[in-house]
Amino acid sequence: MAHPAHYREAHPFIFVMTHWINLVSIVALTISGFYIHYPFLPGLMSVARGMHFFFMFVLLINLAVRIIGAFTVKSATRLGSREVDTDIKNWLPQKLNRGQMWPWLKYYLFLKKEHPIGAKYGVLQKLAYLFTVPLTLAAAYTGFAIWGPTMDWGFFIAGTDAVGGPMHMRIIHYYIMWGFIVFTAIHVYLANIEGTDPSKLIFKWQETEGLQFDAEGKVIGGKGH
């Protein structure tokens, strides 16, 4: 047994909520988006569009809440520890991340046997998670640029003209959705491939025991030590 302990401090309750809202919104947006792209069943266009516009706002408001939370809520600085600091610090490069990009890559490419030291999030994880912020904003921008009530606003017309018209904007919006699908697939895979403890914590807010780490990333005890 060599999994880190998963304590509630890693994901304070508000982030469990925002994660749930993200999940529901993205699934709803993807399904309704596929339907709007090509209505595979009769009779649901109004429902699909209604869902799409509703969850678009939910996702954006949720993103705002998550970002505010990052600056106002404290979360654990690493797994296997209850030591907390302002959440945003866990998103920026930390001491434990330094020089660890290559070891993480090697680990996932099976070129390294040992699990690299990481902070709450590893280098690649931070990059991937942070990337979802611009990805969400890009989905929103391209979506508003092809949505009837807002497509004529100067701010969106400028983008539509820059990409060569609404057809291209539509295709970019479509690809951003695929970006979310691929991100989610990799995210779900990596989060659970070595055990489902992360899922238990983020979905059920359920703690699991495991290895404990000190500030240097060294194992100092806990279950499985």
Partner: protein, 389 residues
């Protein structure tokens, strides 16, 4: 006296079998088209009536299929629109002129000398290819003809998509290096105002509306026309709403009643054509309102999905016309649908994860997990080198 003023036009109309009531109704539709209230109807009627001075006009053809001329020729039999169009004294038109050869060109030349007085109507693409020799007129290049005619015109009306941005003539691979009138004149530093009327072909009612606006209501003289044009120099009163906004099949769209295949019951019921590639949601024209062929019908109403001919670069952007998305030209592969590309990328990602998962299982990471490193690799190397930190 006023009554006598009216006599001339009403006699003219009567000769064409049009009643005064029909004429006023038509003026009402022009007012609506121009975004004016119905209180403008008498003013439009008066303007048409008092348009004593004929406005010289020249109709030139670039790389054109003559479809726009054909569209205008719908008005060849007497009707109310021709009364308005009669205000234009068409001194020269490649297709319609009775005169031929040198005589016809001389007539055009005579108009070009009346600087600032004539309207230039340009149909077809400006073909720059082969040093301008993609099109030759009267022994000269088509480019020369345009450059010669444009500077002296009071305004240029670019009719049809080809004149607006090259239309289907500039579709990939565009061997004739076709472009639109406005872009070409900007390139040459000629600043005559250009009014763009895209679609393939253009709608004659739009020409009527523009003539009433520009000539009779004085928009060109006062410069007001410039405020009425959008960023592509299209009159806003024609090109500010999408076809989807005003589509008679919109109810079926909202209800989710779609035609999936032609020749089906859904098609017979007149369901929405969105699934068979209708570009109405992204095409800004008022086709559903003005309609075509003497207001008989228009594309979507007659059962064909909109192919987006009122948009810029409409062939490359809209084809294949029966698909929701355009094709993307991939190097060495050719035209591919965006959904195919997305499916392949996602499939590769999924396969990658599956293979990786097998690797994770084989290395025992899925069950017990790998042991954690004692120290970062970097720190370990530093320690080896010189005693470490």
């Amino acid at each position: 006296m006023a009554h006598e003023d009216h006599d001339a036009i009403y006699d003219l109309l009567a000769a064409r079998g049009v009643s005064r009531r029909d004429f006023l109704k038509y003026c009402g539709s022009i007012a609506a088209l121009l975004g004016l209230s119905q209180s403008f109807v008498p003013e439009i009627a008066r303007a048409v009536n008092q348009a004593a001075r004929l406005q010289p006009a020249v109709w030139l053809h670039g790389g054109a299929c003559t479809g726009c001329t054909e569209s205008m020729a719908q008005l060849g039999t007497p009707d109310i629109a021709t009364v308005v169009l009669d205000i234009l004294s068409l001194e020269f038109a490649d297709t319609l002129s009775m005169a031929q050869g040198e005589d016809a060109l001389a007539a055009a030349e005579a108009v070009f000398e009346r600087e600032g007085e004539y309207i230039l109507i340009y149909e077809g693409a400006v073909m720059k290819g082969f040093e301008g020799n993609a099109l030759r007129v009267g022994g000269m290049t088509g480019l020369y003809e345009l450059e010669h005619a444009a500077p002296g015109a009071a305004a240029i009306v670019a009719v049809g998509s080809c004149a607006v941005d090259g239309g289907f003539v500039m579709a990939n691979p565009n061997p004739a290096d076709a472009t639109g009138v406005q872009a070409y004149l900007e390139e040459k530093g000629i600043d005559t105002p250009v009014i763009n009327l895209p679609t393939c072909p253009m709608n004659p009612d739009w020409v009527v509306a523009v003539i009433v606006d520009v000539l009779l209501l004085g928009s060109l003289e006062t410069g007001a026309i410039l405020d009425k044009l959008d960023r592509f120099n299209r009159p806003k009163y024609i090109f500010s709403q999408t076809i989807h906004d005003n589509c008679p099949r919109r109810g079926h769209f909202e209800n989710g009643n779609f035609v999936t295949e032609f020749g089906t019951e859904e098609e017979a019921k007149g369901y929405c054509l969105y699934k068979v590639g209708c570009k109405g949601p992204q095409t800004y024209t008022n086709c559903p309102i003005v309609r075509w062929n003497r207001k008989v019908s228009w594309c979507v109403e007659s059962g064909a999905p909109c192919i987006g001919c009122g948009s810029l670069d409409w062939v490359d952007v809209g084809a294949p016309f029966l698909n929701r998305h355009r094709d993307l030209p991939l190097p060495n592969i050719g035209n591919t649908q965006p959904s195919t590309i997305a499916g392949v990328v996602a499939g590769v990602a999924a396969a990658g994860l599956a293979v990786h998962g097998i690797g994770m299982k084989a290395t025992g990471r899925t069950s017990g997990g790998a042991p954690y490193e004692e120290m970062k690799e970097r720190d370990r190397k530093r320690m080896k080198k010189g005693g470490g930190e």
